[in-house]
């Protein structure tokens, strides 16, 4: 299984209050605040909306693997999950209407699945902006208890 470690930058609670309206910033300039998590992207593409990597958690239990991602504000129609061989691609795109313009947010993440996933039984749900993908393990993959006779 290949997953690239994502370093989550912790935001300090001690940060100063932000003004609701900062006179030097227009509404659009405020947008790059999203890049607090991806500060390098902002420098590379000021004012642009690049494709962003989604952070993901992976868990398992005896029967399934689980993948969790945060996609607040996305409707389920705006989230596209595709399985290509053993790679799971999650894409989320949302257009947001501003007063006289439209901008789109595009997030993506590809994950290599471990062996032994019943790929035809993958399911997904969203709850309060958290996407959970359930990947059932194939029978062979499940933990077995061997009794000593």
């Amino acid at each position: 299984m290949k997953l690239v470690r994502y370093e989550y930058p912790e935001t300090s609670w001690k940060s100063d209050f932000e003004d609701l309206f900062n006179s030097t910033l227009s509404g659009f300039d405020r947008w790059p605040k999203l890049f607090e998590r991806w500060p390098h992207l902002l420098e590379e593409m000021p004012g642009m909306m690049p494709e962003m990597q989604l952070a993901a958690d992976m868990y398992d239990d005896d029967n399934n693997y689980y993948i969790k991602m945060e996609l607040p504000g996305f409707k389920k129609e705006e989230i596209n999950i595709e399985l290509e061989n053993t790679v799971l691609n999650v894409k989320a795109e949302r257009k947001k209407k501003m007063d006289n313009s439209e901008r789109s947010m595009f997030f993506t993440r590809s994950l290599s699945l471990p062996e032994g996933v019943a790929s035809d039984k993958i399911s997904a749900k969203t709850d309060n902006g958290v996407l959970t993908i359930t990947l059932p393990k194939t029978e062979q993959r499940k933990a077995k208890t061997i009794t000593i006779s």
């Binding site: 989550y8 609670w13 609701l20 509404g27 947008w31 605040k33 607090e36 952070a55 958690d57 945060e70």
Partner: protein, 127 residues
Amino acid sequence: MTTELQRKEQQNPATREEQERFRKPYYEVEEHADAHHVFVYMPGVDKKATEISVDHDILTIIGHRTDRTPETWRPIHRELSDRNFRLQLRLNVAIDENKIAAKADAGVVTVTLPVAEEAKPRSIPVS
């Protein structure tokens, strides 16, 4: 969906800060003539777990994570933070605090801050 907001003047945020560290959510602000809208992105927070308060000129939005990972799930790889969210904004525009409203949908809390009557733009006829 609209939650009545309560002023929580008695609450002392300092003691909470000592107990808990927060993650600052991503947010957007939209300006309109009669109201400002703040969109706060707090995934994994149910609307019932959202607290909104105004203390003097500070608007505080706290979201407690309600998505619990079942105990039987074994972590293989973790990137997401479990922390609760907190956003504090200084209301540097005149807001009618008694009419602040909020709703939540899909992990996004929308706070509507009505512009105070005296701060609304007026046209002054030339006599």
